[in-house]
């Protein structure tokens, strides 16, 4: 698996898109720091961008890489290699190279700005950790979609729909339910609802770490009670890991049964 990982990783590192992605984050980091002139504020703005953009890039890159490397995959399938190691290797290659662009692209400007002397270092690290989690989650979901759809256009369509659903539509439905049942106690329900969407989960986690939950009213207090504690942090990170593990298991399961 490590050999496949190595080749996929090098292949992507040589492709133009990794550089574009890296340069984008670099630019974003520099511009935000320049405009905000304050690390903590820059982290908040950055969160809003990352929470939406990272899943989108992960999804599109994942689907694109799978379809583009079909020939490579077929070449590998005739070699004495396990199917699971071929696909896991490719998946990890994509996810790692995307994560690296994210971490380096954002990390460099913040480090030069004086991250290590600032109190925002923990918030910033949490931001990068959730960003990496989101990359791994959405690349895995994208591989799942691509494995199940021979047709490229369909695959792309489903991938974009998935992103749209989790990034935007889910929140809408969630909010509507909260409004419709506002007479009932909803804090537990909304907690669960947040847990079930990795994007919401990441957003809430970072927001509450940034200590601006006072803006959120009573529900915010319940959330703060949960997410603000160490147990909440650990449970959230476990939830994010589950979001990685389940799609990865499905990649292994699905790839074993597929015809090429």
């Amino acid at each position: 698996m490590l050999k496949i990982l190595k080749y996929s990783f090098y292949d992507l590192m040589r492709s133009r898109w990794s550089y574009v992605y890296f340069a984008f984050y670099l630019l974003l980091g520099v511009v935000l720091l320049f405009l905000n002139n304050d690390l903590s504020k820059a982290v908040i703005t950055l969160m809003n961008v990352i929470i939406v953009l990272v899943p989108l890039i992960g999804t599109i890159f994942g689907v694109m890489y799978y379809y583009n490397s079909k020939e490579f995959t077929e070449l590998l399938l005739a070699q004495p290699l396990k199917r699971s190691s071929i696909f896991l290797g490719q998946y990890l290659g994509v996810a790692l190279s995307l994560s690296m662009s994210l971490i380096l692209g954002l990390g460099l400007p913040f480090v030069f700005y004086g991250l290590f002397e600032s109190s925002a270092i923990w918030d910033f690290s949490l931001l990068l950790i959730t960003g990496t989690f989101l990359t791994f989650i959405f690349t895995a979901l994208a591989f799942n979609i691509a494995l199940s759809n021979e047709n490229k256009i369909k695959g792309f369509g489903y991938a974009i729909l998935l992103w749209l659903f989790l990034a935007i539509i889910y929140d809408g439905i969630f909010l509507m339910t909260l409004i419709m049942f506002e007479d009932y106690p909803l804090d537990k329900l909304s907690l669960v609802g947040t847990m079930l969407n990795p994007i919401d989960l990441s957003r809430t986690l970072i927001l509450l770490k940034l200590d601006i939950s006072a803006l959120l009213g009573y529900t915010g207090a319940v959330f703060k009670q949960f997410f603000g504690t160490n147990i909440g942090l650990i449970v959230s990170l476990i939830m994010l890991s589950v979001w990685v593990v389940i799609p990865v298991l499905r990649i292994m399961f699905k790839s074993k049964k597929k015809d090429f």
Partner: protein
């Protein structure tokens, strides 16, 4: 070498193989023939484990191939359409496959044989079809495996390369290897193969030597014998 029992495969509702039984003994050249869509490539891909059968059992060198990947170390496979990752250089591809399968020195000789030196630093996406096929052949023959599977090996080759390929195949046969070939070029099949396997509508219609086929169909030459099978079954 290879034994297949009651192999069934359908893609959605399209039945491709329906109960193939086949035994391929050690050594010799076997040609798998059949009209378009008769399941030749599916049969070969099933042996390679790329297509998962619905039913049936395949053993290669005594090993059941189900949930097994290591047996592929014993197989050299030449895919039908040489589609390689287009942003890799020929040299890099060869190095990569060697890295994945183990080292070999055979590649130098094969590169010389097919005059591929000028292309080593070119990207695979920029090569012509014939040159890609030559790279494909180098990748296949550089490992010394007892079973060689060639899917349409002659595609796109110029006459000199074709002659070299034939010599190469004969040389491998002389080493006692088993070679499975599919081809639509009847003259190539007649010249090369010891035995033919004729697939028709997902079943094995005929297995035996070319002369046996001629006797069976009452035709003086091979090409007409094949044609008569097709006419008899489609008229």
């Amino acid at each position: 070498m290879v034994s297949i029992q009651n192999l069934h495969k359908k893609f959605n509702k399209n039945v491709v193989l329906s109960g193939v039984d086949l035994n391929i003994s050690d050594g010799g050249i076997f040609a798998v023939l059949g009209p378009n869509g008769s399941g030749k490539t599916t049969l070969i891909k099933s042996i390679l484990g790329m297509v998962i059968p619905n039913e049936g059992e395949i053993t290669v060198l005594g090993e059941n191939i189900k949930k097994n990947s290591d047996y592929r170390r014993q197989i050299d496979y030449l895919p039908q359409i040489a589609n390689f990752p287009s942003n890799l250089k020929v040299k890099e591809l060869i190095r990569m496959i060697k890295d994945l399968r183990g080292n070999t020195d055979e590649d130098q000789y094969l590169i010389e044989l097919f005059k591929l030196e000028p292309f080593l630093d070119k990207k695979l996406g920029n090569l012509s079809g014939g040159t890609k096929q030559k790279v494909n052949i180098v990748l296949t023959f550089m490992f010394n495996s007892p079973l060689i599977i060639l899917d349409e090996p002659t595609t796109g080759l110029d006459p000199i390369s074709l002659i070299r390929l034939k010599e190469l195949i004969q040389k491998e046969k002389a080493k006692g290897k088993t070679i499975l070939i599919t081809s639509h070029i009847m003259s190539f099949v007649e010249e090369m193969s010891d035995e033919i396997v004729f697939l028709l509508e997902g079943k094995i219609y005929f297995k035996g030597t070319i002369s046996a086929l001629k006797t069976k169909t009452n035709q003086p030459d091979f090409e007409h014998a094949i044609a008569s099978i097709l006419i008899d079954n489609h008229a």
